[in-house]
Amino acid sequence: MKNKSLVSITDFSKSDYLKILDLAESYERKPVSELLTGKVIATLFFEPSTRTRLSFESAVNRMGGRIIGFSDSSSSSVTKGETLYDTINVVSNYCDLIVMRHPLEGSARFASEIATVPVINAGDGANQHPTQTLLDLYSIKKTQGKLDDLTLFMVGDLKYGRTVHSLLMAMSQFNTTFHFISPEELKMPEEYKILLRTLGLKYHEHKDYTDIITEADIIYMTRVQKERFSDPIEYERTKNAYVLKNKMLTHTKENLKILHPLPRVNEIDQDVDVNPKAYYFTQVLNGVYIRQAIISSILGLC
């Protein structure tokens, strides 16, 4: 992994994931170190994402590293019309690692080709957000004690949701049984189902919640976004049809955990928050450990 950019979840192998998860565990036990002393990390956020940026910056700070960068492109030379090519070329000279978020898809791949230092993709438009996926894997492993042979439900917008696609790709290496619950117009795209079939993995599609959720080890919820619908009435109807409520969890498994990449809109009723099966807030905290693990692996410091 040393000096390797992390642009897409497929850039890393299964053994890379496992190594990062183990490392994250060690940072969870001992978060503070001086591993990054003398290192400079650039966080280039061409579009704002406070949550993700703070998670990265917290990870760097806990390991004693320094941060340079910007939190949205209006405060940088980008507004003066500088190309991404130039920005990356210049910033490469100032740092040991670039963390970037950009509204255009493919921007992180392009940056990784130009930069003389490794690049971590913190989100390129609707395309990839691999650190989120590693964090999801970490949350699953931590709550289930394993990654193999689990039953994973994905709910909501399975067509456009980049987090579910990346998680599917990653979990498909662990003999997962998948269940997809979504409206017809937001179904899991064919290409992912083909992948699962090729790998000989089982998946089931449902239009509604049914008793089937009693089989779940993990329920992964996503936002259903208004802009995906041409008909606003259809959106209202759909939005409410996929809300997860506490009473629906009565007969679910003891080990079930509910994950959500956050922020949520209304897809998880607040009455779920008190249920010990709700894990989405702890999931956020795991993000710092996993980012510590990713950064230190890529810099070859562990």
């Binding site: 190309t83 991404l84 255009l104 493919g106 392009f110 390129d124 438009g125 395309n127």
Partner: protein, 151 residues
């Protein structure tokens, strides 16, 4: 009558690309960068064809393309036939074959792709050759046959 003459006019040495669909004619010219060449060329389009109804044909004197170059036209003219001519004789007949990777010919159809806003040579993996389908190596989105635009 003119068409007849064009179709039969022979070249001594070179390459004849036949059975090009007329709508792909200018794209083939662009892909092969013919405007950069000084060689003698005979180009014809909207000619009658038994097989295609109408077709285009390109005759290029003293030009022999390596496979990797000529195969690029398979994106727009998959049914094109090549005749390699030496001393007025067809010494070889070839069909074009869609390559596995496409570099710098096609525009990514995703308006939010970085290749459409910075100066970047596009790169695609060919995920299907039957109904030509390309996957952008940058944004990872699909560009299909109907939306394929040659740069």
């Amino acid at each position: 009558m003119k068409d007849k003459i064009l179709e039969v006019s022979a070249i001594e040495n070179g390459t004849v690309i036949d059975h090009i669909p007329p709508k792909a004619f200018f794209k083939v010219i662009a892909i092969l960068r013919l405007e950069k060449l000084d060689n003698q060329m005979t180009l014809g389009t909207n000619l009658d064809s038994k097989k295609l109804g109408k077709k285009a044909i390109v005759k290029l004197s003293d030009i022999f393309f390596p496979d990797k170059d000529i195969n690029k036209i398979a994106l727009v003219a998959p049914q094109a036939k090549l005749n390699i001519i030496k001393n007025y004789d067809v010494v070889e007949k070839r069909v074009v074959e869609i390559p596995d990777d496409i570099v710098g010919i096609v525009k990514c159809m995703n308006p939010k792709c970085i290749t459409n806003s910075e100066k970047i040579v596009t790169r695609f993996k060919v995920v299907s050759k039957k109904e030509v389908t390309l996957k952008c190596l940058y944004c990872e989105k699909i560009t299909d046959q109907d939306n394929m635009e040659v740069i």
